[in-house]
């Protein structure tokens, strides 16, 4: 009798934990989607990916350790699914021609504008479309890191865990990826002018 009631209490407690987990996960959906949108190739793909991620998360909620970073846990599932869906495995990205230095985008934009002095105004020469398309032109391995750190606001450590790569690799890809992004932005501005 006592055993039956303690079983019932255990089941009820587990159901409460699961509901809480699901609610916390759903509250993060906007942020998860925002990252997925740039990891995946298209809006549709991002939507599918987020749905698959949540389906898997709800099934395997017991493997989440309460008190750890749930958003990072969800993104880890999502990046693994993204790779499973035919994204090539993470490997050393091909080295392309060396990007110009770190100041060159500013130099280009400020020069085209006849020496504007307000840095915020210089940035505004780039449209939202310029940014989204430049980002999608950055090779996957670099883009994943930029999206997690610069857009998703994950620490280097979290990004390393999500992508299962060493933290030094996160840093070098981030550094290089930001330069590639700036090169793409500079090119999109050049095209707008034409």
């Amino acid at each position: 009798m006592a055993e039956a009631s303690s079983d019932a209490a255990r089941i009820a407690a587990e159901a409460r934990d699961r509901v809480r987990f699901e609610e916390e996960a759903l509250a993060l959906a906007d942020q998860v989607y925002s990252v997925a949108r740039h990891l995946a190739g298209s809006r549709e793909e991002a939507e599918d990916l987020v749905q698959e991620t949540y389906a898997r998360a709800f099934r395997s909620w017991r493997s989440f350790q309460p008190g750890t970073n749930l958003r990072a846990w969800l993104l880890r599932i999502l990046t693994n699914l993204n790779i499973d869906r035919g994204r090539r495995q993470q490997r050393a990205p091909q080295m392309q021609a060396l990007e110009a230095n770190d100041y060159f985008l500013y130099d280009k934009l400020a020069q085209d504008d006849g020496g504007l002095t307000d840095e915020d105004r210089v940035v505004e020469r780039l449209s939202q479309d310029d940014i989204v398309s430049a980002l999608s032109a950055v090779p996957h391995d670099f883009r994943d890191v930029i999206v997690l750190v610069d857009i998703g606001d994950f620490s280097y450590q979290d990004a390393a865990q999500i992508l299962d790569i060493p933290i030094g690799t996160v840093m070098s890809r981030l550094h290089r990826g930001r330069r590639v992004l700036k090169r793409e932005l500079a090119e999109s501005v050049a095209e707008d002018v034409r």
Binding site: E47, Y54, Y106, T117, V123
Partner: protein, 80 residues
């Protein structure tokens, strides 16, 4: 101690990313700040980089399509 550099602006440029990521050592941080205090040319470029990062974050932040949240909620496992 950090060594003096032949081209302080080129060195400042190398420090920009780790500076904005708060990854410089205290000595390097001081060095970058001393240079930025006296060099408007580099200061502008640092400010631009900060604005750019903010701007990329805003531009890249896209709202979730209407209906997706409902679809996600429907994936919850019903209580028995």
């Amino acid at each position: 101690m950090t060594e003096p550099h032949d081209d302080p602006c080129a060195h400042c440029e190398e420090m920009m990313q780790p500076y904005l990521d708060h990854m410089l050592s205290d000595d390097e941080m001081r060095e970058a700040e001393m240079h930025l205090d006296e060099c408007e040319w580099c200061r502008r470029r640092y400010r631009f980089e900060e604005s750019l990062r903010r701007y990329v974050r805003q531009a890249a932040n896209q709202p979730m399509p209407a209906g997706l949240k409902v679809k996600l909620a429907a994936l919850r496992i019903p209580l028995e």
